[in-house]
Symmetry: C2
Subunit: 176 residues, 2 copies
């Protein structure tokens, strides 16, 4: 397949993600480093019926458009590691199709507004899709995780917060 024969794919946001994160480098790198970061997914009214039954799920997969992404580079140094890696072996936001994926906690639904925790997404991010997180589909405990296996948990936590905690003034010591 060559680039010239690729079909174009057009999506329209189904809603918007609201959060307290307004500065990219103060936004946690992943939901697991965003405990206590609440936010909302606000969907268009026409999708209310489609949200029936979602309340039964504790975790959701948000799929969204990284609207602040930049021109992608094929080699990047990810947030959690000091070495360069191929872009597709990372979750770096600037990608050929800048699609973001976050697994967040659903705390409550009010009509088309979903109240969330663990939000690692910039305020105003266009939402493309929501899927329920299903343990039997999505939870793999026995994986090899490439360069991520070289990052110890303390380092991952510290780097994963990015500058969020220092921006909040609640972390001590080295944060970068």
């Amino acid at each position: 397949m060559s680039r010239t024969t690729c079909p174009k794919i057009l999506y329209l946001p189904i809603g918007v993600i609201r959060s307290g994160h307004t500065v990219p480098d103060q936004t946690p790198a992943q939901s697991v480093y965003a405990k206590g970061c609440s936010g909302r997914a606000e969907l268009l009214a026409e999708y209310e019926e489609g949200l029936e039954g979602l309340d039964g799920f504790s975790h959701l997969i948000l799929i969204y458009h990284f609207h602040r992404a930049q021109t992608p580079q094929m080699t990047v140094t990810p947030f959690l590691h000091e070495s360069p890696h191929g872009l597709f072996s990372t979750r770096f936001p600037s990608r050929p199709n800048p699609i973001g994926l976050s697994i967040v906690e659903l705390t409550r639904r009010d009509g088309t507004i979903l109240f969330l925790d663990g939000v690692d997404v910039l305020d105003g991010t266009p939402l493309l899709d929501i899927k329920p997180y299903v343990r039997r589909f999505d939870c793999f405990v026995d994986t090899r995780d490439g360069w991520q296996d070289e990052v110890d948990e303390e380092t991952a936590q510290r780097r994963g917060l990015r500058r969020y905690r220092s921006a909040q003034g609640t972390i001590r010591g080295k944060t970068s």
Copy 2:
């Protein structure tokens, strides 16, 4: 946010997914029901550098365009259950933005060709993004799974295969 003020989002495939699945209703519903279904992700040459280091990961998240999706309905009866549910509480393919997500096993890479197992994707599906599956980001063992919790494992397996096994002539008994 109203529909009229939504920005349009344009993506171009980064490659194509190749599999043995050519008939939608004979395609497993999820990767966990597609053990032994091999396939390939064939990326455009310009992305080879971006695949460096991906080989270290045993599992990948494929994000793709459901190119055979139909007009979405807000209430659907999912493959694994006999009751109707809100579309967003299911993984049904026909969605406002028909974005698919599969967690597959990476068995080998040869340049821009990724050899995969557990492929539950139709042959010829446009690939939008690849992310590494990272256990510490993506594996949640303690979840509430809504209506999915009402589906016992044997039923999930049987329905999740869809007509794949019967098409292969290897399953006995009820398959729908």
